[in-house]
């Protein structure tokens, strides 16, 4: 019964300390994470998602949320190690801290790191981190921007912060959600945030299973290192 459900892989990227682990815990276990500690390497969690909920075509999928830890200015050895997690990704959630502008700016570099790595065959990152809108224009992988620690923004500053994040989400051609990971009511069923999240996961599943007649997502070929086929055989 379990193996018959298909898999979908979504990366959760962002600077250290923005709250990715809390967010993933909230999304997968509907509970607030009591003791956040910093993530070494990558931590995975699984969310059971009903695709096209409420319609006759409803089907249940497992969505794997890969929470990759670290900072965007890490040593190149750490970046090369992280790159192994960016294989065959179906969606990316970019997380930034609403109280920290630098974490929002670093999202550009994060997305470039995850999206560009397959363009250089030696596996060494050569990008200088410059943001190029064209790279996002033909990007096929659905993105979602989530801003955390909304409760720490004072009422008077909220409008200014939310305007800034709206521009950010527009740059990525993505939806945005702003919440506080220690409060489950932001993602309560039926709220606009929950609807956006559901739509995002539906889009990811669609791109993965229903739009791939040619069997490859253009612009994002699987890594050739393991000889093409063998890597796929590691996943079911």
């Amino acid at each position: 019964k379990m193996a018959s459900l298909d898999r979908v892989k979504v990366l959760v990227l962002g600077d250290s300390g923005v709250g990715k682990s809390s967010l993933v815990h909230l999304l997968c276990q509907n509970q607030v994470l009591g003791n956040p500690s910093w993530t070494v390497g990558c931590s995975v969690d699984v969310r059971v998602h009903d695709y096209k909920e409420g319609t006759p075509e409803e089907k249940t999928y497992y969505i794997e949320l890969w929470d990759v830890g670290g900072s965007v200015g890490s040593a190149s050895s750490v970046k090369s190690t992280r790159a192994v997690f960016y294989n065959s990704v179906n969606g990316i959630i970019l997380v930034h801290d609403l109280t920290n502008k630098k974490s929002s700016q670093n999202l550009y570099r994060w997305s470039l790191e995850a999206l560009n790595r397959d363009l250089v065959p030696t596996g060494v990152l050569v990008t200088n981190g410059d943001y190029d809108r064209e790279q996002f224009a033909d990007n096929q992988i659905p993105l979602l921007v989530i801003g955390t620690k909304l409760d720490q923004i004072h009422e008077t500053k909220r409008h200014e912060v939310l305007t800034r994040t709206a521009f950010l989400a527009e740059d990525f051609n993505a939806e945005e959600i702003n919440l506080d990971c220690t409060n489950p009511r932001y993602l309560a069923a039926g709220s606009s945030n929950a609807v956006k999240l559901s739509r995002f996961f539906d889009k990811v599943i669609e791109k993965r299973y229903f739009l791939r007649e040619g069997n490859q997502i253009p612009g994002f070929p699987d890594r050739k290192r393991f000889g093409g086929g063998t890597l796929k055989s590691l996943h079911y």
Partner: protein
């Protein structure tokens, strides 16, 4: 009049050092983070500025620049400010920020940080007990008490750093210690890492499905909390939640494994980069230097051990001894006093510059190593 000119020169240089410390903090240490509390940056820059001013005053003393009385005045003022910062402000703020991070004590953080500071002062004072500092000339609440303790701690720290550097330096520079890492090793390790991640995922899928069926059936999984919770969970537990705790334990073990594999892989990549670097000209040059350094470090360790074991105290500094040997054995005519002072001065200058540079580099590395959230 000359006092005013001297003071303005000193103050200009202090402002320059302050600006440099500020820029270093902003550009290097806090490159990827946002500064929330500007107090920290200000204290860092002020400490840096006054420390550099102390070096500057020593150099001025040797070169006999500026008026002697104004030098003395600035020296005293410098010492007072640095001691004030070192003994009062920095420990207090460290305690304050530590306490602010603990949620329990957040409300009375001022009180607790004062308590922490008092504890620090107690141990700081106790430090001076074994040393013959107290003398009738100076009295108990004088500047000498503070300086002597700060000096003891400072010299010990420098000795520790120097010892660590003596051992670490050959290891870093020489390529003899580099393991041979091939691409195949890295690939194999990455494959293991991905396999572990897959195992974790399959277990988490089971847990998620179990939780969902339990939720739909109306059972709730309560993690055993507290003493009575643990006792209760021994005797009665729903089969679903029992399963969950078992799988959770397996997942915890696998996650620990995945972390280890990740760190090992990062280590292999770093070693591979070092091997590549050692094949370049720069790498070969450093490797060569490394051999010299390691011989010097081994000699230093050896001499230090002999000094401690045989309880020897050096009478003359190496420079003067070197010049004496040169004069006596090679018969070259030297004005020993003149040259030894100037050479010592140049050496002091070099030591000052390299120690500031070394300190800044170490700070950056240390900061990146511990900064994660």
């Amino acid at each position: 009049m000359s006092f005013l000119i001297d003071s303005s020169i000193m103050i200009t240089s202090q402002i320059l050092f302050f600006g440099f410390g500020w820029l270093f903090f902003m550009r290097q240490l806090f490159k990827d983070y946002e500064v929330r509390q500007y107090v920290v940056q200000v204290i860092f820059s002020v400490t840096f500025a006054f420390s550099c001013t102390m070096f500057e005053l020593i150099i001025f003393e040797i070169l006999k620049v500026l008026n002697s009385s104004s030098r003395y005045f600035h020296w005293k003022m410098n010492l007072c400010v640095i001691l004030l910062i070192l003994v009062f402000m920095v420990p207090f703020y460290i305690g304050y920020f530590i306490v602010s991070n603990i949620r329990l004590l957040h409300k009375q953080r001022l009180l607790f940080s004062c308590l922490l500071w008092l504890t620090f002062m107690y141990f700081f004072w106790k430090l001076g007990d074994p040393f013959p500092i107290l003398s009738p000339k100076h009295g108990i609440l004088s500047i000498e008490q503070l300086i002597s303790r700060v000096g003891v701690i400072g010299v010990t720290l420098m000795a520790l750093l120097s010892g660590f550097g003596a051992v670490n330096c050959p290891y870093t520079y020489m390529s003899y210690f580099l393991r041979n890492v091939t691409d195949a090793d890295i690939l194999a390790l990455e494959r293991r890492l991905l396999q572990t991640m897959d195992m974790i995922i399959s277990k988490k899928k089971r847990m998620a499905m179990t939780r969902r069926t339990m939720f739909q059936k109306g059972e709730v999984h309560n993690k055993p909390s507290g003493f009575w919770g643990m006792i209760k969970s021994v005797t009665t537990s729903a089969p679903g939640s029992e399963n969950l705790t078992l799988i959770q334990q397996e997942v915890d073990a696998l996650e620990e494994l995945s972390r280890q594999l990740f760190l090992e892989t990062a280590d292999l990549y770093a070693t591979k980069e070092r091997i590549e670097y050692s094949k370049t000209f720069k790498g070969k040059y450093f490797n060569f230097l490394g051999y010299f350094f390691s011989i010097y470090c081994v000699w230093k360790i050896f001499m230090a051990t002999i000094n401690i074991v045989f309880d020897r105290v050096g009478k003359t500094d190496p420079v003067t001894r070197g010049i004496e040997i040169t004069v006596n054995y090679l018969g070259i005519q030297f004005d020993v006093k003149f040259w030894s002072q100037h050479i010592s001065f140049i050496l002091v200058g070099i030591i000052i510059v390299t120690s500031i540079r070394g300190l800044l580099i170490t700070l950056t590395k240390f900061f990146y190593a511990i900064s994660s959230s």
